[in-house]
């Protein structure tokens, strides 16, 4: 195998520095004792982390986002698993159209979906409702789950299901005892990916959240446009830490490259 030369290594180091720089700088600034966004030089302080808990708003939004991501990821699994089975196991008129419909939120910019949801929610009087926010998030995260579910389903041989059916298992039993255990890793990976995507979603949410249902990314965006103090850095550092933990879990369980690279 070819080795990388010194120029390649130098280029690689620059790219890695570029990728990590904003994340590292946030984590450093979060520990500043000063009132401005400055790197701590002589002493470190946790004051901005305490400030988050005194501020309350961020905690409420974190709570909102946690519930929203959990509910929408679960709901999208409930939709994507049967839909995936229909699309991979049956041939019927309109199958391709259905597949395209379910994957369309990947192609339509979230901005356009946000505008469209706002229009619909105003029309049906659903603005500010948490339940409708869950529905809107379910729409945008379902494609991610569906892709992983369909990949998992196409990895299962149809013969195995037919064998179970021939041996007298009902359709539901085949699903419960044969298919479900085999696609479980794909489903779980899809759920996590959906959770993360919902938890991080900003562009669509900013149109459809109300002051009561503001999610964490929306709260952070609003805060960052209005005031610049290190509390934002502390919140961001916590987000980075949480993501890193989720990433390690995802990597240990499924292989992050499989979940993310297989995604596109």
């Amino acid at each position: 195998m070819q080795r990388n030369g010194p120029i390649a290594i130098a280029f690689h180091c620059l790219v890695i520095a570029f990728v990590l720089a904003p994340l590292v700088v946030i984590c450093l600034v979060a520990f500043t004792p000063a009132n401005t966004l400055s790197l701590p030089t002589t002493s470190f302080s946790l004051r901005w982390f305490y400030a988050i808990f005194a501020h309350g708003d961020f905690l409420t939004s974190f709570n909102n986002s946690l519930w929203l991501a959990t509910l929408s990821a679960t709901l999208s699994v409930a939709i994507a698993v049967p839909a995936g089975i229909a699309i991979t196991r049956y041939s019927f008129l309109g199958r391709d159209a259905l597949n395209a419909l379910f994957l369309s939120p990947l192609i339509i910019p979230h901005l356009v979906l946000g505008v469209a949801f706002l229009r619909l929610f105003v029309l049906i009087g659903a603005t500010g409702s948490f339940a409708w926010l869950v529905v809107s998030h379910t729409i945008i995260v379902t494609p991610y789950v569906l892709r992983l579910v369909m990949a998992a389903l196409s990895g299962v041989e149809v013969n195995i299901e037919q064998a179970a059916q021939t041996l007298g298992a009902s359709r539901f039993t085949v699903f419960r005892r044969v298919l479900a255990p085999m696609i479980l890793p794909g489903v779980a990976g899809g759920w996590l990916l959906a959770f993360i995507n919902s938890f991080d979603e900003l562009t669509m949410s900013i149109f459809v959240t109300s002051p009561q249902t503001v999610t964490l990314p929306v709260r952070m965006y609003m805060y960052a446009t209005e005031s610049i103090d290190p509390m934002m850095a502390a919140v961001s550092a916590l987000m980075i830490a949480l993501t890193a933990v989720a990433m390690l879990l995802l990597d240990r369980a499924f292989g992050l490259d499989k979940v993310l690279v297989g995604q596109r």
């Binding site: 946030i26 939709i79 469209a116």
Partner: protein, 284 residues
């Protein structure tokens, strides 16, 4: 039996179909309707039927300027992502484990970190007392102001979009048989010729699909121009946001969003056609 067999895919996909029809097709249709309506102050929606919104988007210099900036910055971002992402994916593919998986994780991991966090990180780095500006002064290069410039937007966009370029190129490289490269070198081709004539043609499809992804996501990017462009430097997404939630001119905002959607879909279709033609040529 035959009746249930015919109806069962629809029973399985039914709930999703209803949900997606009600929450993707219906809202988009409603948005299309208001984009053709007159603006009514003090009312959430408009009335009547008019082309005014689209005419003003296509003729007003302010809107054209913003569309032009969006196009320009998205193209620059795509170009920069290709120039950084393709060599980086190639370097990664020539590494040995464990470095390879560690660095792949470092490159694609930030995908999972909220865009708001990453944009905020760049606003610290590029701010007037930020590291990048200080570094520039130390090296005697006066960058001047960086935050709230187009440069800042492109830098942060490249940071956010880079994984979308690396992933497809990486996938294409995984399919490349290393012995083909070795054969080319054995037959006397220089390293550069091998790269240009053997490796690049094989990864060009990955690069094209990566470019499409990066370009499409850049044209509708919201958080980056919102946080790094400030109030003055608008892109289409921030403009739509202003029209909807500040000016409350929903018909115009909807027309802008529809224009962006149509523009994106057109680019994607044209691109797909180009990529398919290219794939036929490459794969024979």
């Amino acid at each position: 039996m035959s009746v249930t067999a015919r109806s069962s895919p629809w029973l399985l996909a039914g709930p999703g179909t209803v949900l997606f029809t009600a929450f993707v097709i219906l809202p988009l249709a409603l948005t299309l309707v208001i984009s053709f309506q007159h603006f009514e102050p003090n009312a959430a929606t408009g009335s009547g039927f008019t082309f005014t919104n689209f005419v003003s988007i296509l003729t007003d210099e302010y809107f054209l300027g913003i569309f032009w900036r969006t196009l320009k910055l998205s193209l620059l971002t795509t170009l920069a992502c290709a120039l950084i992402g393709v060599p980086e994916a190639y370097i990664l593919s020539r590494m040995r484990d464990p470095w390879r998986s560690v660095f792949l994780l470092v490159i694609i991991g930030p995908l999972l970190v909220s865009v708001v966090v990453r944009a905020f990180g760049w606003s610290i780095l590029l701010g007037s007392s930020g590291l990048v500006v200080q570094l520039g002064e130390m090296l005697g290069l006066g960058f001047g102001r960086l935050l709230y410039t187009e440069t800042a937007i492109v830098i942060a966009l490249v940071h956010v979009m880079l994984p979308f370029m690396v992933i497809p190129v990486w996938t294409a490289l995984q399919r490349l048989d290393p012995s083909v490269e070795a054969a080319s070198l054995t037959l006397g081709a220089s390293a550069l010729t091998t790269l240009r004539r053997v490796v690049l043609p094989q990864v060009s499809l990955g690069m094209l699909s990566g470019s499409l992804l990066v370009f499409g996501l850049s044209t509708s990017a919201f958080a980056i121009p919102g946080l790094l462009g400030g109030r003055r430097l608008k892109m289409v997404a921030t403009l739509v946001y202003d029209q909807f939630l500040q000016e409350l001119n929903w018909p115009l905002g909807a027309a802008l969003a529809i224009t962006l959607l149509v523009f994106n879909l057109a680019i994607m279709l044209a691109f797909n056609r180009f990529v398919e033609a290219r794939a036929r040529k490459v794969l024979g």
